[in-house]
Symmetry: D2
Subunit: 378 residues, 4 copies
Amino acid sequence: MRRIEVTTLDREPTDAASAATMKALIYEGPGRRAWKDAPRPAVRDAGDAVVRITTTTICGTDVHILKGDVPTVTPGRILGHEGIGIVDAVGPAVSRFRAGDRVLISCVSACGTCDLCRRAMYSHCRTGGWILGNTIDGTQAEYVRTPHADTSLYHVPADADAEALVMLSDILPTAFECGVLNGKVQPGDTVAIVGAGPIGLAALLTARLYSPAAILMIDVDANRLQLSRQFGATTGIDNSDGTAIDRVMALTNGAGVDVAIEAVGVPASFDICQSILAPGGRLANIGVHGKPVTLHLEKLWDRNIAITTRLVDTAAIPMLMKLVDAGTLQPARLVTHRFRLEHIMKAYDIFSSAAQERALKVILTRSPSDGSSQEVQS
Amino acid sequence: MRRIEVTTLDREPTDAASAATMKALIYEGPGRRAWKDAPRPAVRDAGDAVVRITTTTICGTDVHILKGDVPTVTPGRILGHEGIGIVDAVGPAVSRFRAGDRVLISCVSACGTCDLCRRAMYSHCRTGGWILGNTIDGTQAEYVRTPHADTSLYHVPADADAEALVMLSDILPTAFECGVLNGKVQPGDTVAIVGAGPIGLAALLTARLYSPAAILMIDVDANRLQLSRQFGATTGIDNSDGTAIDRVMALTNGAGVDVAIEAVGVPASFDICQSILAPGGRLANIGVHGKPVTLHLEKLWDRNIAITTRLVDTAAIPMLMKLVDAGTLQPARLVTHRFRLEHIMKAYDIFSSAAQERALKVILTRSPSDGSSQEVQS
Amino acid sequence: MRRIEVTTLDREPTDAASAATMKALIYEGPGRRAWKDAPRPAVRDAGDAVVRITTTTICGTDVHILKGDVPTVTPGRILGHEGIGIVDAVGPAVSRFRAGDRVLISCVSACGTCDLCRRAMYSHCRTGGWILGNTIDGTQAEYVRTPHADTSLYHVPADADAEALVMLSDILPTAFECGVLNGKVQPGDTVAIVGAGPIGLAALLTARLYSPAAILMIDVDANRLQLSRQFGATTGIDNSDGTAIDRVMALTNGAGVDVAIEAVGVPASFDICQSILAPGGRLANIGVHGKPVTLHLEKLWDRNIAITTRLVDTAAIPMLMKLVDAGTLQPARLVTHRFRLEHIMKAYDIFSSAAQERALKVILTRSPSDGSSQEVQS
Amino acid sequence: MRRIEVTTLDREPTDAASAATMKALIYEGPGRRAWKDAPRPAVRDAGDAVVRITTTTICGTDVHILKGDVPTVTPGRILGHEGIGIVDAVGPAVSRFRAGDRVLISCVSACGTCDLCRRAMYSHCRTGGWILGNTIDGTQAEYVRTPHADTSLYHVPADADAEALVMLSDILPTAFECGVLNGKVQPGDTVAIVGAGPIGLAALLTARLYSPAAILMIDVDANRLQLSRQFGATTGIDNSDGTAIDRVMALTNGAGVDVAIEAVGVPASFDICQSILAPGGRLANIGVHGKPVTLHLEKLWDRNIAITTRLVDTAAIPMLMKLVDAGTLQPARLVTHRFRLEHIMKAYDIFSSAAQERALKVILTRSPSDGSSQEVQS
């Protein structure tokens, strides 16, 4: 590896930084996690930054990892792919950031220049993609090393709301790109969203950017359906009795919906989506699927429909930041619980029982200036 | 029904025309067809035309109907949804055509003005769609009644090639709209077409309108693969040994294809398509499916792909006519056999054994001026 | 002309209806208009409807006509191309409407089936386009004949707000199609609208359907700029001192705007638009121009910009109706004055001095059930 | 500037390389150019490559520069922004290329990662754009320093045709992106190209990738119009008598063209374009304009047209390389003259009298392995 010069905020020698330790949330195999000491990361490649985390959160994917469902994640890995922080050090090839900058970390690390990045398919970057908290150590720690920093971090103004912006690391661009953009939501459309968890609610928030005429939210959790209404859904459909398809068809006078957004990731929810599409409709899949689904081409072959999949590219982060700044988009509404970063084990407990705890997104904070952090239990 | 005035070429009274008979190919239940007398059609609705057929052809769908696979077709139905002819009579609401006009008949009858027609989804017209040779009598007859004539017929110049243009009733727009347009074929793309029958070859001819860099044709019929090469495929892949997927991946250096066009309509061919898509790829289904397929969302959920279906809308007919006229598109290359219309029973025999007979499209003709017709066995 | 059967609400014979008179606003040459008797229209072509007007309004174009600026309008013409009413009679080819139906009249009469209509360019319909109150008599009358009724009228629910919906005859689709759609307004965009009159404000209302981050409204009328802020503009820029360009560039940190919408129709406002475009920007012209403009290609040739023009096609009416029904769009906010139809001469006086009178849109009503009408001076 | 390590083919120390000289074509003020010694370039920034030129060419823009029309070019500048060569040295941040690689040089140097590059507007790169042979030394020399090498160079296979590929440095992507893509050429379209010089002919070659039904070529040079026919134009229109507009309208039966491509850069040619557009047409400007034009908005405001400008982004280079490799695109047909690089002064003489010399593109070559080069006068 090429020797590089590293500049840090506190002028510590690189070697010393490497030797230092920090606290981190570590995956220790299926069902096992720990908040404990880990080596503090240092710049390794010329395009790296090291970021001191000030705000992070827990993603549904982290819970899947803990169940052992994500084979690329091996024991010993620091989890987390979302975060706001302060740049602590940058490699010599980093030109847009320097130590002291406040930044938003994309869940996707992208070189920005390979053939797939040039098509804005950053999630498929030849040397990046979703690697944080997956194949390299992640953001649920005091410090994180972020590769391809110039094209994977975003400047955050000093007065910006970290709770709102940390939602832009993953969940909002995921819902927007995979659900709303792929679903081609247009003004006047009727949109159904299957799954009113954090991702489904983020799809609801971002679908509204295109002014659909109706948003039908389908779930089995009465609390989440009620929240959906507060977030702007025109109708909440409780599918506890399995009649969602019939009710959507009745609500649309038999026409079906223009856009069906799958925000769960199981065959049953995909099946609802494919059953309620109007001719010309779009089925935008967001969910992470572990099993194949049955696609009823015998019914759909002549329906002029489109089914799309996508891994979030986070290409929309700059646009979403503008809308948060303008007050048009309020992603902090997804935040239900707040903890100090050092209490992340408790936060995981809450988040792992999200429905019972009425939890959506859980914020973990650490003071930007010193070791202390604030905790507000909402 | 509203009483209407009807004008005919030969000034026969309408009642007499209704009473007259003609010859037609009639579906008589699964496995049974006959060329026999049927009542000659008359204008029934104000927007109707009656067309004297001069050229028609047989579609793969007609063979499916004969197997009993299309429940909307009931015994007694005159088959056929493709044709060129001379307008014999028009209803009073028809403003663009009059008796004596030479016309191309779209396989889709569309009012042009309902909500779905206004979105150019003519196949889903509220009072039309694919009805000819399906829910109303079709074109494999001496005369056919065509509803919504103003928006379902196209003027054909006197010197135009009927063999080329009859391919525009169905097969070319089907391949182009469902395969090429839905697949968003772009210059430089690598395109795979699964199925080298008439539809697959029509997809090949029309995909070339967008100058892809490579077209990989996949089939199990050596003759058809050889034809594919003559039609411009860069590679023919014989899947007799079931290794098509591996060979496509090898040919694309593991990348997969930008566009996979399904032109068969069975789970196995769909499966090839979903297995060879590059990230960002498009799977455009043309095939008529009778069974569900297994969609491997557990592999595809993060691949940024799109899967599309469509029933041909024939919105592309005017454009395709321009390209035939310009000599850019030569659909008559699909014609392998020619018969007089009265020999249609034999033509069906040939077409039903298409692979053995090396048959693609079979042309049936009748003289435009009198009762005689020419036959050239190619 | 073909003889046709006509059905009317009141079962009067067609001839009698033709002979009857009504009141109408008639253009009598430059600067001259009168509210006086005119022959009551009857169905003439098979696709016609006759509509009894219940709500209409005055368009800026009507004022231009009165100045003699629109040479296609000849003395004796009944003005008006916007309206809500009750169908009084329909021709035999009309299938979607019948006497008694409450309808919205599009300012564009379109056959729906010619080559240009099939491309949704209804304003360029081969036998229609903007003809009402232009080359045929219009809607500022007790009755109007509307050609191509099936594709130029829209059903209005009994409980719908006529004031809101009459804005959908012309001004809202004009602003939306020519300004917002052509300008490709996207979430997060910075949009400038030059001209805060009724059309510019309608562009503001409909631009918001796509959630831009900023809308800069440019005008010289302080009252209208204040209204703009109430309607959702982020900044109002008073160009009385001619510094709008500098101020837009300052507000955008020198970058310029993503979309500039020209809503006046004079060279000076076009010039502002072309001077404030960011690289990649879109200039969407709505204004009706009477003179050429100077296009600074020597500055713009390398700026990756697009300039668009369009005559409203009203293709967006069904979508806009959904959004009015959903409460997302509130076009009645544009209404400032209300009169009985018989007081239209006074309404013209007010509207012709719009700035001084602080007038935007002026509503003229007539009772749907009898001859009386309500007047509320706002 | 940061100190960097440089690797070179011949292991010469960087300082020595900097001190070395080479031959280059130098602009010495309006009307003056010289082939003379210049310092051989070295890597300066971490992302630079130094390329040993083996093939280059002369662009019409170079002739404009020599006339003094491009104020950003100052005396002493080495001209040229097109080229094929062998990488001689790379800076430490270059990861995709190394010494010895054969490369195509884009006329646009782009970082690939700034906000405008991420929108694929490479020509507006915050730290690049068209700088070669403009604000930094260019390719008409034995060596050139190319900034942002990873995102501005393209690998060229050993067996690829340099004459064909050097056309992809500028002229083909310019014609394709600014003319064909911006003009949205579609199958079946009628396209007019005003200007049959190298750029116009390149627009013709690349427009054909989308299979228009007709391409009308307009020029005043009979030789170039004849060439156009050989290149696939359906009609050549000699505008020597100023009747081009009338003849286009006659050829299109009064309809006008779907796409008008401006490939000259003067008001007269723009005027032809705006006068022949059909409703819904697109006017794609390629020409470099030195003066404003008169835009007839009083005629065009209601025509549903789009006018676009663009500086070539060369985003299409990878796609065009595929089509050259596939044999679909044959840009070497534009080459009329060939010289050794050291005879570039003579080549400029020829190219500056292009019409008289029947010159299109002039190829300048130098042996890849040693100092010698081949010359073939075509």
